[in-house]
Symmetry: C5
Subunit: 98 residues, 5 copies
């Protein structure tokens, strides 16, 4: 899974019917310190109630469909967890609400 920040939302009225009721969030990859990295953001489905600005991890590809919310739906990126803490080499590098 990649680590990313929820930076925005996407509205789509005309969409595949099986995507109805899903929440589309814009996520951008971040470093282990939670800082935004270059690159284009992705549209990810929210499976855990992630909020704006939170650091999350998302799964890509067919793994994105292995949740109750996304099963058999045409999604390729799903937020699987809100990250509380990232520790590298014994040092806390990111902590939620720091």
């Amino acid at each position: 899974m990649n680590i990313a920040k929820v930076i925005g939302t996407v509205v789509s009225t005309q969409k595949e019917t099986t995507l109805e009721s899903l929440k589309f969030l814009l996520v951008q990859n971040v470093s282990i310190d939670g800082m935004l990295e270059p690159g284009l953001p992705l549209v990810a489905i929210d499976a855990v109630g992630a909020g704006m600005g939170e650091i999350i991890m998302y799964a890509s590809g067919s793994s994105a469909r292995q949740t109750l919310v996304t099963k058999d739906r045409p999604v390729d990126a799903t937020i699987m967890g809100i990250i509380d803490e990232i520790t590298v080499d014994g040092k806390i590098r990111f902590r939620k609400n720091d």
Copy 2:
């Protein structure tokens, strides 16, 4: 899903039989402001009636086959929704027909 713009069409007469009747659109990734990004465009199947110049989101890989239109067909990129609005950090960055 990636955010892209429909920039063109592809015609293919001699093709895999299960691709018959599908519409091949050329899509190029865009920024959150809807501006074209560098890189090669992809051929995506249209599952939502997307029009030329529209900003859309498409799914890749096996997820591209999870629609009525593309089920069991050999496609790896499908347009899943036409984007009306992209909001980042509370500001609208893209709005359809702006």
Copy 3:
């Protein structure tokens, strides 16, 4: 699907048994004008009778196995169509035999 040109062939005598009788073509990604792009070519399976020098579209990943020719075979790139014409912003950018 990506757009590529058939630039060569690969011969492999000692191979996975389920790959017997498949045709291995070398394909290299091209621009919308049909010009070769930098990067390494791939070995793709031919599902449509593509010829040397032709501009084609190929599917990657599990989608490459969704054809009669490639079903359940260990291939990850299959040529799905020979491209006759690419139109971008209303202008024809590539036409076969131009």
Copy 4:
């Protein structure tokens, strides 16, 4: 599979229910000498009891779900083995506990 080093851990309380009880490790790709390479680390699931600082190999995509620990769970990167030794051109380039 990619070769990477276990550099840290990720804590996530609010997560997809099927991810409960899995261990989230941060892994960063390394060279054949075991030196860290540039690029963002990934969150990988541990299927083999890997420890901090160890050089491991991980599988990506749907293959990440082909273990008892990760079956049908929404994970896209799983540590499949702890590497003892890497030999290139007859020379040992990495040995565990060197």
Copy 5:
């Protein structure tokens, strides 16, 4: 499939049980002339008896599991054939044992 050279081996004692008895080879992508390209090597499973220094083609992702040797095993790259000859634009660019 990608074209690569077998450059080494990986030893892993502590590994996913379903990986027992598989042979882990290090493969590095090569040009159509068989010259090593920059980038990190991958750990690929050998399904065809490839030897050190040979130029091979390998499949990635779920396609890597479509062989008798790798079926239902957690591998994401499998060597599918030893390459005898690569021809581009009518000229032989690589021939085994040249």
